[in-house]
């Protein structure tokens, strides 16, 4: 089902095209991924798993899990959540492991396109955008790459207004902040933007860093820079419960992508797992899209997100069951029901407290963890810091990791907020330019200002654990602590 009316968003759809699912024609729009088009047509089972042939559907919607692989135009293992529709495309579900076509022409060996800049920023979310803008303002040449077809990262899915102070975009909706920052980037002639471009590896080449990029899944690009800012965001956590792989179980971000980016309803009746900010905000967004949310379950004895987000959904009649967890999903090929139960003081389900919800969607909003794969691969020291969301790169007070010239910012540096991501991005962008000797000493003041703003933002109860996490990560690191 497609959304046409929305209180906040306006959906601009591309040209109408026809795709074929198992030979059946379906309507789709240019610019949307295959999985979104299939969802709009009610098709949720995308493949049957490699070994046990279990039905699987969309889960992460950002090309990171393996749940949406399908056969497209005869080519197996295509990630349909990030592959855009093309007119006449033939799509089939994949069952088990795939077979390659028997014949093909050997591909020609060609040199990759080469792009050079002072600073390569990986990730065009709030942190990366701010890093690029500020690095550019110090006169560094900047290349900014992002996997998505648009800049803004998760901001583009956020219909709610941001917290913080006005100068940090408080009171402005995420979608609008994305537009403002994108405009700032586009204004700067010394920032070159590459969209739909993934960074898949970092190699050290003398003084330079070689970032292997893949554009639109079809073009190899070698990005070379003397410094890097890695702002690759976060990834959703999964939790164990029975049948947790049934189609209809999604990460919260996947639902936001479907609903707010592509204007496709994820289903009709939803159970939300997790009452942190992501779960609460998602619930409100579902209601805005006209989807019924049956309940929110939360294992903790209290709402983990901001109280005001909880109050917003409570007054629309949505129950929040604290000290409750999901026991299992039920359904044949996709979610038909969810069974939840109350937890005792030792986190054990209390027998007899089971409740059954007739839902077709289960949204997991059980936390995020930093996407550190690139940093880890590049050799940065990694440390487990629960306060920052799990494994993070060790970095100094100016956001430089243990690999000289590689900086980190935003959720990749520790799960927090878009507001802090922007401040960290600003710091990382300036610090990278200082490291290269491009920025003048005066820019140190700007870093210090961002540090003060961060300190202020983090001074409340919500910031305390982050401050503690950062203290752990800075312990023992030399340099600009």
């Amino acid at each position: 089902m497609r959304l046409n009316e929305h209180p906040i968003l306006r959906f601009k759809r591309g040209r109408e095209v026809t795709i074929y699912f198992n030979g059946q024609p379906l309507k789709a729009f240019e610019g949307e991924p295959i999985a979104a088009a299939l969802h709009a047509a009610g098709i949720k089972v995308l493949n049957y798993s490699a070994n046990e042939k279990r039905p699987r559907g969309l889960f992460c919607a950002i090309g990171k899990c393996s749940s949406c692989l399908m056969i497209v135009n005869g080519i197996p293992n295509v990630r349909t959540c990030i592959t855009l529709v093309e007119d006449g495309m033939r799509i089939e579900p994949q069952t088990g492991k795939a077979k390659l076509p028997k014949e093909a022409k050997p591909p020609e060996f060609r040199d990759a396109k080469a792009v050079k800049a002072d600073i390569v920023v990986i990730g065009g979310g709030p942190a990366g955008l701010m890093a690029a803008i500020h690095a550019a303002d110090t006169r560094a040449s900047v290349v900014l790459l992002d996997e998505n077809p648009m800049l803004g990262g998760q901001l583009v899915k956020q219909t709610h207004k941001f917290f913080g102070k006005r100068e940090q975009f408080a009171g402005v909706r995420g979608v609008e902040i994305a537009k403002i920052l994108e405009e700032e980037v586009r204004k700067r002639k010394n920032i070159e933007v590459f969209l739909e471009t993934s960074a898949v590896g970092i190699f050290q080449e003398g003084d330079e860093k070689l970032v292997i990029g893949v554009r639109e899944n079809r073009e190899l690009i070698e990005f070379r820079g003397r410094a890097l800012v890695v702002a690759t965001g976060a990834m959703e956590r999964m939790i164990p419960f029975e049948n947790n792989d049934l189609p209809g179980i999604y990460g919260a971000g996947a639902i936001q992508t479907l609903m707010n980016t592509y204007g496709v309803k994820p289903g009709d009746r939803v159970l939300i797992v997790g009452a942190g900010n992501v779960g609460l905000i998602l619930t409100y967004q579902l209601v805005q899209a006209g989807v019924k949310v049956e309940a929110i379950v939360e294992a903790m004895p209290k709402v983990g997100g901001y109280f005001v987000h909880a109050a917003k959904v409570r007054r629309l009649g949505i129950p929040i069951l604290t000290r409750h967890t999901i026991l299992r999903a039920e359904g044949k090929e996709r979610v038909e029901r969810a069974v939840v139960a109350q937890l005792d003081g030792n986190w054990k389900p209390i027998p007899g407290t089971e409740k059954v919800f007739d839902v077709d969607v289960i949204a997991l909003a059980v936390g995020l963890r930093p996407s550190i794969e690139l940093l880890h691969q590049a050799g940065c020291q990694i440390k487990f810091v629960p306060e920052l969301g799990g494994h993070v790169a060790v970095r100094d007070g100016w956001m430089e990791t243990t690999v000289r010239g590689i900086f980190v910012a935003g959720d990749t540096a520790g799960i927090e907020e878009a507001t802090t991501a922007m401040l960290e991005g600003k710091m990382a962008g300036i610090a990278a330019a200082l490291r290269l000797g491009i920025a003048e000493e005066g820019w140190v003041k700007e870093i210090e200002r961002a540090q003060r703003d961060l300190e202020e933002f983090r001074s409340g109860p919500f910031g305390r654990h982050v401050v503690e996490g950062i203290r752990k990560i800075l312990a023992g690191v030399g340099g600009n602590v």
Binding site: K97, P101, K102, A104, P106, P107, F109, F203, L210, G379
Partner: protein, 388 residues
């Protein structure tokens, strides 16, 4: 019964521990990291008797016979599959060389034969037949799961009483004359010592460091670590490229479908001298270079996705043959396998265990050929046929 210390928890050390325990010896095994972490878990899984010299052909023929019954013996599915090795010739001269090798292999009972490209295509459905003239095909060659094989040996060894210790690093020996009397090691931050009757250096790339601790010259057995890399595709349906397929004239490039998940592993002779003993950094030139070859061998691979690239060491000797034998009265070595440690392990472990326990072995192993003192004497063997 005597107490034997084995240094190195890779396939050679673990398998020898098992074989010694079977012979009733008391064994203590030391691995400085986790089992298999050196080279075993990084290998390309292949097992072949298609060598080009008598010693290696005979040893590997015997090894393959052991491999055939190994899962049953160890009571563990090690996923040994005889899916063959297919070498491909790109010139008439190479076809002639293949024929000579086949004659030698046949002489020792290895059933290699020359096949045409139609037959090759049946065996490897995604093969590009165009550039090749003929193939050397031994259907008894194969592959096994290195992880499962190592653990199968380890579990059985422990059942037989072997004390196998991970994260236990050797730091020195006590030596009296030509005998090692005790092994000093560090475990959980504590230094400990154990009295032993014999020691086997099975540390492969790290073996020269162990020899040095035993008071021998590092260069006595010159083993140099070369970084070899592999890339692997996502899991694929079985049967598309089961054998190891290799045109040796294309820089020893090869592909082989993983016996476990069906992902296709691609290797090549693009090697780098390791900068240090923990230089496992993959390189960009390899990533692109190996795939250039792989897609010429099997063009449909172009549509598969690469999910990982990794590196491991070929612990190379100057003649690419391992050093297997006695270094001191009770100090033995089985190291420097130059990329063949996994495939040779069942035979070498048995030979080594029998040598230590009984002073002689039933295994058809040419002790002179693998003599660890040959380098010092300047008696190099003909280079073992090596791929990848």
């Amino acid at each position: 019964m005597s107490k034997v210390a084995i240094i190195g928890g890779g396939i050679t050390g673990v398998a020898t521990a098992y074989e010694l325990a079977k012979l009733g010896e008391e064994v203590i095994l030391f691995e400085k990291n986790y089992f298999g972490s050196g080279s075993t878990f990084r290998c390309a899984t292949g097992i072949r008797a298609q060598f080009t010299d008598e010693a290696n052909i005979r040893l590997m023929k015997y090894a393959v016979e052991r491999w055939e019954k190994l899962g049953e013996e160890l009571g563990f599915d090690i996923n040994f599959r005889q899916t063959g090795y297919l070498f491909l010739a790109t010139s008439e001269e190479e076809v002639e060389a293949f024929k000579n090798n086949i004659r030698l292999q046949n002489k020792f009972g290895v059933p290699t034969r020359l096949i045409d490209m139609d037959e090759a295509k049946e065996i490897v459905p995604i093969l590009n037949t165009e550039p090749f003239l003929a193939g050397a095909w031994n259907p008894r060659d194969g592959k096994a799961n290195p992880f499962k094989t190592l653990f199968a040996y380890l579990f059985r060894a422990r059942e037989l009483g072997v004390e196998a210790r991970e994260k236990a690093e050797i730091i020195g020996f006590e030596r009296e004359g030509k005998e090692i009397t005790a092994v000093k090691y560090r475990s959980n931050g504590k230094v400990e010592s154990v009295k032993v009757d014999a020691v086997l250096n099975a540390a492969n790339a790290w073996a020269p460091l162990i020899n040095e601790m035993a008071g021998l010259k590092r260069e006595l057995v010159p083993i140099t670590p070369y970084k070899h890399q592999l890339v692997k595709t996502e899991p694929l349906e079985r049967g598309q490229a089961e054998p190891l397929v290799c045109p040796p004239s294309w820089n020893d490039a090869y592909i082989i479908q993983d016996g476990e998940d069906g992902g296709i592993i691609c290797g090549a002779g693009i090697e780098h001298r390791a900068k240090s003993m923990d230089d496992y950094e993959p390189t960009y030139d390899f990533l692109r270079g190996v795939l250039r070859y792989a897609t010429m061998i099997a063009p449909p691979l172009r549509h598969a996705h690469i999910v990982r690239q990794w590196a491991g060491f070929y612990a190379k000797t100057p003649d690419k043959n391992p050093a297997i034998g006695k270094l001191l009265d009770n100090f033995y070595i089985a190291a420097g396998f130059s990329g063949h440690g996994f495939m040779m392990a069942p035979a070498v472990a048995q030979a080594m265990a029998e040598l230590i326990a009984k002073g002689r072995s039933k295994v058809p192993i040419d002790w002179d050929w693998y003599d660890p003192y040959r380098f010092e004497r300047g008696e190099l063997r003909s280079s073992a046929f090596q791929i990848g």
